[in-house]
């Protein structure tokens, strides 16, 4: 009877584990293996090449440029999205007049597919026909190139990514906020804590687990951002939005250089692994 009960959880986990194995673990292993092979362009024959693909990409300035763009993008987009999500979730956690309507509206971007969002923003930000530039012009501000400017394109991508990201992550943080028992906050109030002290000393520590999850998931999601790039800038202008995942797609699927593509993905995997490890370490909890 006891052994039967022990088996049931494993049985229930099996479908999820099988899917994880097939769609996550096996492709990851296949990528790592592929990164050590080069394919003969003429015969299509695969030959083991050790670290030759890695040597090749490390000598490639385009790879380093893509990595640089990805790092800058991540350093801006992740803190920005989490700060905004936190602010938004605190706002929608308040009992204010009309907050019910706002709660319904703010989540709408999450319900729209990322592809549609990217295409709509591309149209909105167009220099000649976009609505944003139409409004700017009416306000007496010069039309902006947005997705076509080396200075503005990455910021425009950050805007598009955050349009979906912020409401999505705020939903998780809201769940965390609502899990904080009201007596704890009341106790802090009775002890003389002001709103800021209550937020920093009580709310934030109790949100640590949720924030750790959001930080890790947000980092990974933004590292894997692809659809807005292929649908808007395709890495341009002048590689200013050439995030590393788009560069791996270009190498592998457009130029047929699977070895270099797999090597880039492996490097990316390692970087994500390290960043997530550090994030989890920093936000580790004693509870």
């Amino acid at each position: 009877m006891r052994s039967k009960q022990q088996i049931i959880p494993y049985l229930l986990l099996t479908p999820a584990l099988v899917l994880l194995l097939v769609f996550n673990l096996l492709p990851t292993i296949a990528t790592l293996v592929e990164s050590t092979f080069v394919m003969s362009l003429r015969s299509g024959e695969r030959v083991f090449a050790g670290f030759a693909n890695f040597e090749r990409i490390f000598k490639d300035p385009i790879f380093w440029k893509s990595l640089q763009v990805t790092v800058v993008f991540s350093l801006v987009v992740n803190p920005l999205q989490i700060a905004l999500s936190l602010g938004l979730s605190i706002l929608i956690n308040q009992r204010l007049p009309g907050i019910g309507i706002f709660r319904s509206i703010y989540l709408l971007p999450v319900a729209v597919s990322l592809n549609v969002t990217a295409i709509v923003w591309r149209l909105l930000l167009d220099k000649n026909t976009g609505m944003v530039n139409g409004i700017l012009y009416q306000l007496g501000i010069e039309r902006q190139p947005f997705l076509h400017s080396t200075e503005q394109a990455l910021w425009s991508i950050i805007l598009i990514a955050s349009w979906i990201g912020v409401p999505l992550w705020s939903l998780f943080i809201l769940a965390g906020l609502q899990n904080i028992p009201p007596p704890v906050l009341e106790a802090a109030k009775i002890d003389g804590a002001n709103a800021w002290q209550s937020f920093t000393k009580v709310t934030l520590p109790l949100l640590r687990r949720v924030l750790a999850f959001v930080l890790v998931a947000d980092t990974v999601a933004n590292f894997l951002l692809f659809a807005p790039i292929i649908l808007t800038t395709q890495g341009g202008p002048q590689l200013s939005t050439n995030l590393i995942l788009y560069e791996t797609y270009r190498r592998g699927f457009l130029y047929g250089d699977l070895g270099a593509s797999a090597a880039m993905l492996s490097v990316m995997l390692l970087i994500v692994f390290v960043i997530v490890g550090v994030e989890l370490y920093v936000l580790r909890g004693s509870d």
Binding site: L41, R42, S43, G44, D60, P61, I62, R122, L123, D126, K127, N128, T129, G130, G134, Y137, R143, P145, H148, S149, T150, Q234, G235, G236, P237, Q238, L239, R250, F253, L254, Y255, G256, D257, L258
Partner: protein, 423 residues
């Protein structure tokens, strides 16, 4: 009851027998653009009842990635592929295409335009059969010329790029005063593609690629390219006579009267001629050139090849043979893509068909003649895909305000990096 049972047995026998009856029909897959292929396929299948052709149609940009991934994985499907002609050498180099020399007779090869045969060959072997070729004309809205108080050119006039710049600025109008023109002076139909833009530096005497088919340093950042793409930059950024932003299909905007001139393919002639709702008066003239240079016109188009790993070699080569020669080629021109045919026998029909006697369809004859004026095929290189894609990004950047020399140098860096694997 007994009769019913016999009926059931007969039906079952028929079901069992049907697949064996159908076994004689070979199904082949043809990966192509979204051309109107149904009538052509139906005719081929009527003449070849043992072959069933299934068209797999994708968009322009997706076609290259599909071929790259599927043929790169040595897949046996698709059996037949439409090949953009400068990619023939890239595919042949990788052994993705079946050599086609044994499929065609000497007469059939001689009927193709020699330039098309060369473009479909790699190291002296034919890998893709010519189906169509192309050229470019200047299309203009006569109303814009009237409004600007200018005389439109005739079908045999050839304006210089300098004249185009001057006229285009006079024909750009911001009617509603919102800071963005409502009528633009000029645009290239394929505004960021090497197909149309390569002839700009070539008109100034510059080459498209180094003699080894791989080197671009010192070629695409040479003075000829810098001058040509400074002109291109000015058109969008200084003279503001052409729209920046997203890519679009200018013929649509031309029909609404919002583009005054564009350089485009002769496929637009039947489109405008057959549009009963078209309210603008339009005409064509020859492809422009630089005053200090020579006329140079874009050429090259679609070929058709057989996947080297196909399991239906015989059926696939029969289809390719039919579509690229004789009756099939003529039908493809009339009912298929409508592009310029690559067969001299079909091209000759332009001169004799009464359909082309009167304006505006007679512009097709102008185009047929223009196709013979210094036609410039795209660069022949095994790395054409990388070359084209990178330059396309660079042209889009220049169009939207990026510095010309800096952009061309970045293109050199990126293309040289990609070409390293072919050296």
């Amino acid at each position: 009851m007994k009769r019913k049972r016999i009926g059931i047995i007969a039906a079952l026998l028929l079901l069992v027998a049907l697949p064996s009856l159908a076994q004689d029909v070979t199904t082949i897959t043809w990966l192509s653009l979204d051309w109107p292929v149904d009538d052509v396929i139906a005719e081929f299948e009527a003449q070849n009842p043992d072959i069933n052709v299934e068209a797999e149609q994708v968009g322009f940009n997706d076609l290259f990635a599909q071929i790259q991934v599927r043929l790169g994985a040595r897949s046996s499907v698709p059996d037949v592929i439409s090949v953009d002609v400068p990619l023939v050498s890239a595919y042949a180099f990788r052994n993705w295409l079946l050599p086609l020399d044994p499929v065609f007779t000497g007469d059939e090869v001689e009927d193709w335009l020699p330039a098309a045969v060369n473009a479909g060959s790699y190291e002296g072997t034919l890998y893709a059969a010519p189906v169509s070729t192309s050229t470019q004309l200047l299309f203009y809205n006569s109303g814009c010329f009237d409004r600007a108080g200018l005389m439109p050119p005739g079908p045999d006039d050839r304006l210089t790029w300098e004249e185009i710049a001057d006229i285009a600025q006079q024909m750009t109008f911001d009617d509603d005063g919102d800071g963005t023109p409502d009528v633009w002076g000029f645009i290239w139909e394929q505004m960021v593609r090497i197909y149309q833009l390569q002839v700009l530096p070539e008109s100034l005497g510059a080459a498209a690629i180094g003699e080894d088919g791989l080197t671009v340093d010192g070629v695409i950042n040479s003075q000829g390219w810098i001058d040509a793409f400074t002109y291109y930059y000015n058109m969008f950024n200084v003279w503001n006579a052409a729209p920046q932003g997203e890519e679009f299909w200018p013929a649509d905007i031309f029909e609404t009267g919002n583009i005054c001139m564009f350089v485009g393919g002769p496929w637009n002639i039947p489109r405008f001629a057959n549009n009963a709702d078209l309210e603008i008066e339009w005409g064509v003239s020859r492809h422009p050139y630089f005053a200090d240079g020579v006329p140079a016109t874009p050429t090259g188009s679609w070929h058709i090849g057989v996947n080297a790993n196909t399991e239906n070699r015989d059926a696939a080569t029969r289809f390719v043979h039919w579509l690229s020669t004789g009756e099939g080629a003529e039908m493809w021109w009339r009912d298929g893509s409508g592009d310029f045919p690559a067969q001299q026998s079909v091209l000759a029909l332009f001169a004799t068909e009464p359909e082309f006697d009167e304006l505006p369809m007679s512009y097709v004859r102008t185009a047929a003649d223009e196709a013979t004026v210094n036609p410039r095929p795209r660069a022949v290189t095994v790395g054409f895909l990388e070359y084209e894609q990178i330059l396309q990004n660079i042209f889009q950047d220049i169009r939207n305000g990026a510095d010309v020399e800096e952009s061309l140098n970045l293109a050199v860096q990126r293309i040289e990096s990609e070409m390293a694997k072919y050296r």
